[in-house]
Symmetry: C2
């Protein structure tokens, strides 16, 4: 069972574009941020792919996402430089042309009016969107995003700069996704076990994962397995109401906690969120 | 051109396994660390994929990596819990069975002798490797890694805990990769431009990227495009010798720096590494 608001939840792909990610210059915080938001909205993120600034590679990842998921979110590659080619890749995946979008051009114009009012070739390029795309307002920077709805699927292309990406997702994309998000509440709880190695806690984690309902339990070793073991256990539960989700999550935690104490472990519980 | 030690460089895939990555609980620092090491070794990382703790999903990502790259590195999913299933996925991708590896079992045994000497089912499970795999010593934790060489390709499976993954890569995997790494030197240089928006710097970045040789130039906006723009420019160059790589990288930087100054920008150069 993948991380889940349940097997029937709408699925999502996250496609992060940028050579800087592949050469390890930049840590992919965007993928984590989007994974969290999408999960809390009730989507099941089934895969994240990082590709270079290359039209063919971007198109192949987006095409895969469209085949396997309801929602594809891309980040990066919307800017003014020669290697910002994400929307070309999205257009290719959709079999559409890249066209100058009037509304996007207005956004770009308004942005640069504050600066020098000049519309260079590189700036106009940021208003070239796949045919039929809706431009997404960038509340922070220059490059508009793009939203395409196609065959019941949604592709949202956001900038790579984290605060631009986050603002655009919250203001422009979440309202659209909420329309197809399932009516579930997601609850996350955790506890920390000290003094029990993960390998001995494992059977209890497994039992907790079978508590029923849509629950996901995972242990993360933090200390050293031998010596001073510290294990964090996270539970993610979803249910039609928050109260039900809390019940399931707490029952799973109770099983792990009891198991840990029976092995002589010290248990510190966290609040649920 | 993907980030590159040249078009002819051996290619690599990074497959990171773990629901915690997909739900955004953990930021994927392992992918960045591996991307950097592989790049500096002269490999071209063509794609990174994050998949859930699911045998079929892991197998599909590894299979894709084997079709498209010379080296596939996986992280995560080697531990003792019910959802640590990476080696099952690797075995499935290779069409091999998962078998108890004697050498790996010795490693696990030795590790737990320091603790309580008990070999539970969950601990023995960590010694189940794909048939024909070579176990990789874990200098930090309990779970051995696995290395499979198959049809000229290499699959290395490492733990998800960063310090275990890093130690195992450096001690056990790098020596193997160096045998197929190209005889090139990779140099990275950078500069920071203040006072010029990225959109105006873009033509100069493009010119620098065409300086010839195997060079890759990318600009990263840090300030705001309007107002107080700050742009970081990174250059990655590879050549048969470090001196040649430095020459190419510095020429690319010179072009960007000159362009920035001609636009009234302030340029701060970084050392090359």
């Amino acid at each position: 069972l993948p991380p889940s608001a349940g097997e029937g939840s709408p699925t999502a792909y996250v496609v992060t574009v940028g050579n800087e990610l592949l050469i390890g210059r930049t840590v992919n915080t965007n993928a984590a941020w989007l994974g969290r938001r999408l999960t809390l909205l009730g989507f099941r993120v089934v895969r994240m792919i990082t590709v270079p600034d290359d039209v063919g590679e971007i198109a192949s990842a987006v095409r895969e996402g469209l085949e396997r998921a309801r929602v594809v979110v891309t980040t990066g590659g919307l800017g003014p430089t020669y290697d910002d080619v994400t929307l070309q890749g999205v257009a290719e995946a959709l079999g559409r042309r890249l066209v100058l979008n009037r509304e996007a051009l207005e956004m770009v114009k308004r942005f640069y009016e504050r600066l020098d009012g000049v519309l260079t070739e590189e700036r106009v390029k940021m208003a070239m969107l796949p045919e039929g795309a809706k431009p997404l307002r960038n509340p922070v920077g220059a490059a508009p995003g793009a939203l395409v709805e196609c065959g019941g699927r949604i592709i949202a292309s956001l900038p790579g700069v984290p605060r631009e990406m986050e603002a655009m997702f919250l203001e422009e994309v979440e309202p659209v996704l909420r329309r197809i998000a399932p009516p579930v509440s997601i609850v996350e709880c955790g506890l920390t076990v000290k003094g029990v190695p993960e390998s001995l806690l494992a059977p209890h984690v497994k039992r907790a994962a079978r508590v029923g309902g849509s629950v996901y339990v995972k242990s993360h070793p933090r200390g050293s397995e031998a010596g001073a073991p510290v294990v964090e256990v996270k539970v993610l539960a979803s249910a039609p109401s928050r109260a039900e989700a809390l019940n399931v999550a707490r029952e799973a935690l109770r099983i792990v906690g009891e198991g840990a104490r029976s092995l002589g472990g010290e248990v510190v519980e966290e609040d649920c969120s």
